[in-house]
Symmetry: C2
Subunit: 223 residues, 2 copies
DNA sequence: ACCTGAACACCGTTCAAGT
DNA sequence: ACCTGAACACCGTTCAAGT
């Protein structure tokens, strides 16, 4: 009998290969294996296409990474923050949302930090933060600087937390966090670093979210 | 006439290839070409040895990167901070030193963020920060959390700033910063992002260091 | 317009061998 | 102990060609 069409491996368009599907596949890979599991070739393999097929949708790998990061920022619930009558709790809500969204995909964090926050979704989120702060009645210049301050705080926190999260693993509980912090102290002699040894217990005893909100409150108190 | 020893390309030990020299070469490459200019092979080429020669000194590239980051933290002037009679100005001094040290080598920043701050030099610097904060008379638990807060702030600031610094270029002045911020807004319609457009001018009008110290002061006020 | 195959100049790392 | 040469399984990207 004559061969019918070979399953699917000839040139030409395919439905199913879209920008959206590529970003979903990329996020899946990063979630499973961390930032270094993301390559043009691994994404292509995940989608069952030739590596260079992706260049129809993204000009370079850097563009793909930027789009992946911005896509994540597009998932923030900006309306929820804008709808909060109290400006300060609205800011806390937005900051916590950003933190949770990024830590749900810790492998993306180093990619995002390297790429910067210049995508369209990032700009919109920044605009919302400025709106919320302006409701607080700060002097105009302070609003701009406070926005920058808040962004750096959230990013710094997320960066440090994400660096501790091994790819593909479940979020560690408090006990695991404590163990990890102690491990990070490594072979260092606790007698030489008495305050560090003590602080590791204190910080680890709070879960990351409580620690995050404590710092956020201190920061808002200073404004 | 008979050939004397070929210049130097045979197996066997060489003086000049040391951990220190490797880190210096690596830093030179990162300074010149950014984080992606750092490869095991590029460092080896810079030193005139075979790529695998480096594996005598570092088990993996990740180990080399971690050592590079920690080496930078070892350049902090901890004694200057400890010698400052006023605890608050000592903290500001240490934070500014850290920021300046990292931004002097912006290409290292993404590497450092990914690797975390778990090296011996990082631990010692953290210990000093805790010491300074404890002089401030905070409750013991707050000292630990304030230390974490300060670290995240400095890191976040540096990460955002470093993402804007092109590798190999001179530190941009205020005019260049303003132009860059406007460019980052890209094709975005300023009418849709009115507050962002206004804030870009405000933030860029301050140099990064003044902005950094403003945030640091707000933060310390909240403690 | 959208995809494939083949190729280019790279990677990090390992292994056997030389000094 | 310290280095080289050669090889392995990878990269991102480009180019010509097929539908």
């Amino acid at each position: 009998m004559t061969e019918s069409v070979p399953p699917r491996s000839r040139p030409g368009p395919r439905r199913g290969l879209t920008e959206r599907a590529i970003l979903d596949a990329a996020l899946r890979l990063v979630d499973a294996g961390g930032a270094e599991a993301l390559s043009v070739r691994s994404v292509a393999a995940e989608m069952g296409v030739a590596p260079n097929a992706l260049y129809t949708y993204f000009r370079t790998k850097a563009d793909l990474v930027a789009a992946l990061g911005d896509d994540l920022l597009g998932r923030l619930d900006l309306d929820a923050a804008l709808g909060d009558a109290d400006w300060r709790s609205a800011v806390v809500r937005l900051a916590a949302d950003l933190r949770a969204t990024l830590l749900a995909h810790p492998g993306v964090v180093p990619l995002l930090l390297h790429a910067g926050f210049a995508g369209p979704r990032a700009l919109v989120a920044g605009e919302v933060l400025l709106e919320l702060l302006s409701r607080g009645g700060l002097p105009a210049d302070d609003t701009a600087r406070a926005s920058y301050l808040l962004q750096t705080y959230v990013l710094g926190t997320v960066a440090l937390d994400a660096a501790e999260l091994p790819p593909g693993a479940a979020r560690p509980d408090d006990a695991a966090r404590t163990a990890e912090r102690r491990r990070a102290l490594g072979g260092a002699d606790p007698a030489l670093l008495p305050r560090t040894a003590a602080a590791a217990d204190v910080v680890a005893a709070y879960n990351g979210d409580a620690q995050f909100r404590w710092g956020l409150d201190r920061l808002l108190d200073g404004l």
